[in-house]
């Protein structure tokens, strides 16, 4: 896949790894008014990498990336202690006028 015209960065495999899936919830859709799109990303993802990935894959300009880690709950069943895996969400704010059609896939 060739890089898009104005993008400096070429599409690379890790980018697909970073954008796991769009995070579609009530709260996430509230951000759509301000051009914010939420993605589920690996725990190892960094803000610059998310930015690069989103910019390349969707062909949009990213204004800012905020991330957060949602800690998995600890669950106990009798003596066994378990922990649900944590997830990392990345809230990407796009430049004005830019949109990403969530749900159509990468």
């Amino acid at each position: 896949m060739a890089a898009k015209k104005k993008e400096k960065v070429e599409v690379q495999e890790w980018m697909y790894e970073i954008i796991r899936e769009p995070h579609v919830t009530e709260k996430a859709t509230m951000g759509s008014e301000y051009g914010q799109v939420t993605f589920r990303v690996p725990l190892t993802a960094t803000k610059p990498r998310v930015k690069a990935a989103v910019e390349t894959l969707f062909g949009v300009k990213v204004k800012a990336v905020n991330t957060l880690i949602l800690k998995g709950k600890t669950k106990r069943f009798k003596q066994n202690h378990g922990k649900r895996s944590s997830i990392k969400k990345a809230i990407v704010t796009l430049e004005e006028g830019q949109t990403i059609d969530v749900g159509t896939g990468v």
Binding site: H23, V24, T25, E26, A28, T29, G103
Partner: protein, 488 residues
Amino acid sequence: MQVKELKQNGLEHEIEVTVKANDIDKRVDVRLKEVGKTMKMPGFRPGKVPLKILKQKYGKAIMGEVLEAAVNDTSVKVMKDKKLRPAMKPNIEVKSFDEGKDLVYAMKVEVLPEFKVKDFKGVKLEKPVAKPDDKAVTEALERIAEGRTSSEPIKGNRASKKGDILVFDFSGRTADDNVEHDGMQADGHQLELGSNQFIPGFEDQLIGTKAGEKVEVKVSFPKEYGATDLAGRDAIFDCDIKEIREPAEAKIDDEFAKSLGMEDLAALKKAVEEQMSKEFAAHSRLKLKKALLDHLDDNHDFEVPPGMLDMEYNNIIQQIEMERQQNPQQDSGEDAPDLSDDEKAELKQIAERRVRLGLILSEVGNSNNIKISDPELQKSVITEAQKYPGQEKEVFDYFSKNPQALESLRAPLFEDKVVDFILELAEVKEVSVTVEELTAEEEEDEAPKKKSATKKKASTAKKSDSSKEAAKKPAASKKKSTAKKKAS
């Protein structure tokens, strides 16, 4: 919504309807909102899913639903606007439709023909009426008596003759290998000579025998005999004549009436007379109705919607096939799967007549506000239930659960009521006729076209009735004679 008449061919209208895209969109949105109120989606509370996301996910499914609803709504509206009365469900073909585009569909519809129902006031009809006279009653009594003839031993020792009933034992064997077969022996069998119950030749050889004699009867089974291993073979029957009986005339007297469960002869006569006059009344009504229908058919000439015609025609064909399946031995000669062209044309005519009459009757009914009330319907359900003694409850359940079945009861009721209505208006002249004239079948000399639905039904019903009667009588007499024998 734009409506364009493409073409009109007789009763067939072809209409093109265009529904604007935003109309459709509006409908979709409304429907989505309705659905969204209860829709569960991960990440959202029920009812809080944004329209956009709903549309993305369920838009396609909803679209189909909306499309159907839109087509239905608009087609009904078009019909109403154009004042078309559809005879049947319109045939709708969607020409083009896509999201964000106008919906265009073509609608083929057959309308009910416009016709004026003629005035009934001038209609003159003849109602054949017959009263059961003494002669008819006696005849009927004699017929009943005939069915209940008993037999008594002959006096003296004379030789048997035709018409006698022989009581005899027999055991038979095939002539060539001396083997006895099943069903070739019996003790105390009663055989009426000349009744042709046995294979040809058997009874003839028993004529002229006397009680106590032993006779060897040599016969050969006919080629087309039921049991294939016996067909066409010669057989010898050793017959031991026990008794010769002759049929006794059943006297029509009080005794006879009592045996039928009546108090005396007068009561029996009255009962028979009542029964007959009821039958005659039914006949007269049938004839009158037929005359009326004929009249209606002759005086109204309008085009019949081809769709309805086809439906009725197919119904008839199906009915015929069903009848054939039910009694395959009957008219096995014309077991050919296809009807000849002549027959088809004939059936087409019958179908056309039925449809036309149906339209006229419903028109008359509607314009004169004839309705079937619920109590009336209830009554017919009860009569229907009485036809199945012991299962009344099931019948009631069936009708309460199947509104469609109830509807099928409504149709004949409605028809009857309309006919009554017309008859009230029409001039009905009573003409007394003889019993024979009243009950005579007219089917033969009349054109097939004249056969009406009711007529046909009635005649088949009659047929089955009479055949049942015929089947009943010998059975009854047999029972009686065996009972008598046991007693002796």
